[in-house]
Subunit: 320 residues, 3 copies
């Protein structure tokens, strides 16, 4: 693996999952692999789990880590190719990226979408320019449209929790929220589950919240949440804003908020969410505080997921 | 010691003080004790000495340290049990704490009081919820009502500086300030000196600034500052806002500002303050720049104090 | 070297440059020199290259590093000697510096000028007070009027890139900008090139942008940019605000923006800039994206420059 920006960078999902689970058992088993290597973690936006878990993962591999909050410790980057920079951007990514490439052996970067301009967001300009100009491996710490480290942790969690031989039924259900949120977690989860191919996968959401079929192809789209949740083994709850009416909140129907009643027709489904979440808006407290929830376990798997990815990239670059 | 949130967590203050002084002499004498252990330092509020000294202490013990400015690198946490999170809080402590518990072996946390609601502040909800939900040792880096790492450093400083066999006279004096400040340093110093029991302890402040007797029991309360300072060996200067008229500034009498004249009737008293301080508001420049001041020494002792506490917790958990 | 705040702290520039180039080839050749030593990096202002390169340099030498964003993680410092601190400053440098001196073995500090008060800015009060009160070596990470780590990297870059025996012609040219910027990079580059003495040095700028001759003595001042650029081997592009009409933008003549046409009369000049830069305001995209630019190489040299400086200070203090 050279870069890690989506499931398309992964040669074999199951091998990566197994590697991650091995690191979970023995986190320090490869603790010299990254010696003398340095990763920069660049944050354009807030982050808790990604920030902390990636630091831990890199340190477990013996790497040096430097965190750089570009938005606060630095300044606003320009992404437009031929911009006349007489406004509020202070440095062009074309100038910053090669320097970061000289300082680090690997770069992680988090960048949220604007939710104003779909074409721009889905073009993933920042990631693309970093790959083009930094000259070192780039790891997405959540981009405008995808969150692959989260999705890998999600697949690890399902793999660990599903004890039966039959395929699990996995349901991704839209949930209400007070603010328009990115589509990245939903896009990415759909893309990974479909590429993985080891689940019966259903996506349910109100009309108007359709995701691009680039990500959802392979899943069943079901507009009736109750029908979707029937016999589910895993229920992934997540809000996203509309793709078609880009970045808009179209539905405020609180009946989509997940409660224990919603799960009653499932197959004792395990409850998943990427966090952070708004209690009693996306999901009820009662379902979160019940035994159904595997959300903490899922968040814990962010460490071994990141560690498996960083290790793959380190090994690829040793071989080159 | 399992957690460290007040003097009540300390089995024997003098043993802890001796341990700290030993670390001061040989900071690296236990530099493998924390190998493979990771502490997260969570800041809801600004911090200089606590932030830096705790990092140093943890590194001296061979621990990994990750600093997380929740307020800036993350988002606002919800503490209310059954909140409907449709406002400005982004994540519930109930959901964040178990994840932090999975990522770290120990958590330090700083959280200031609102000074708006006494019952809420004194309930120390955040500390309590972290202890309940994180499942790992919690170290107060200053909470809404107490600052035990500061108080331990204070006791260490008095122990080091008092060369005579007789009990020292220790005076905590209120000082003016332009803003309402928390009561935590005063509460905590009072609680520690009283629990320690090795000083004649006087607290002086204008009427209306009475602290809870939970903390002050054992001390003499003296409203006349001059009477209080008579023959003092140590004078601890600190502003706090009113407890009874909660969070309010009641007194703007500048004669409470400590000057060399105030110390003239003391027993060549040593001057203490936890820092940061406002020169020529709380204390005069002349007294700060005189030989009476042991404020730098006191701040220096924050490192060995933190190191002794972290080491105790590490050892307790090894034994479990 | 005890402190590093300007070229005046350097005994022999060429020796320091050679040392830096040696570290560039073998970054870990002295990786135990700083063991058990701790540097604090204090930022009053944003920073990308300085922040990251100094961390890397210190880690390459085996030092512990703690970054402290005073402005965000802490609070505003008071610098005025006898201030009555009843306004927005929370701690006096006189009180903070000795504590930092107790916590660290070395301090790096970045502080920008106000550009409001020339006398105050050029007095470099913060650096001076840190040197006076911290009692440990102080390294400028860019001060109000100078940026010596940048200048050392600049001299390293010219040394590496100039392959001929004759002296290179080095031109520092003013460039347009939309905001008033400090004079520190220009001051410092002039001071270093003149002290170095191994270049024919020309400074060109519009009238009204004269720098103090303390820094420029030894250089030719040429108001005609075209005349200045004739036969140049290196062209350093940089905006600065006026010294005489202090902190003001006097010229908005875009013909000063550097383009390939400007370089056509040079001797295939290499293009330098300290970054960040505003494309198509200070320099055109086309010249930046051409082979003339050695800006990335220059920024890369910030690591070995910082490493050589920190190593010198470490060795000086070992010898003491």
């Amino acid at each position: 693996m050279k870069h890690f920006t989506s499931v398309l960078d992964v040669a074999d999902i199951n091998v990566l999952v197994e590697k991650a689970i091995a690191y979970k058992v023995k986190p320090l088993s490869d603790n010299t692999l990254g010696n003398g290597k340095r990763i920069g973690l660049l944050f354009m936006n807030p982050s808790m789990r990604t920030r902390i878990s990636t630091q831990i993962a890199a340190r477990n591999l013996g790497m040096e880590v430097i965190v750089f909050n570009i938005d606060k410790d630095g300044w606003k980057l320009e992404l437009e190719d031929e911009a006349i920079m007489n406004s509020n951007t202070v440095e062009h990514i074309k100038d910053a990226a090669p320097v970061l490439g000289a300082y680090f052996d690997m770069l992680g970067v988090r960048t949220f979408p604007s939710l104003q301009n779909k074409e721009e967001d889905y073009a993933e300009v920042l990631l693309g320019q970093l790959i083009q100009y930094a000259g070192i491996p780039i790891v997405s710490l959540e981009s405008a449209t995808l969150h692959p480290l989260q999705s890998l942790a999600d697949i690890i969690t399902i793999t660990e929790q599903h004890k039966e031989k039959r395929k699990p039924k996995v349901v991704l259900t839209w949930a209400p929220h007070i603010k328009p949120l990115p589509q990245c977690v939903a896009n990415s989860f759909a893309q990974w589950v479909n590429a993985w191919g080891k689940a019966d996968f259903v996506i349910t959401h109100p009309k108007g919240y359709e995701l691009y079929d680039t990500y959802t192809n392979g899943a069943t789209i079901e507009y009736n949440q109750q029908t979707a949740l029937q016999d589910a083994d895993f229920v992934y709850v997540k809000n996203w804003s509309s793709v078609t009416d880009y970045g808009k909140v179209l539905c405020e129907d609180n009946s989509w908020m997940l409660t224990p009643e919603h799960l009653s027709i499932s197959n004792h489904a395990k409850l998943m969410h990427c966090l952070p979440l708004r209690r009693n808006v996306e999901l009820s407290s009662s379902v979160l505080d019940s035994k159904s929830s595997i959300i903490t376990e899922q968040a814990s798997n962010r460490v071994c997921a990141a560690q498996a990815v960083l290790a793959e990239i380190l090994k690829h670059n040793q071989a080159c």
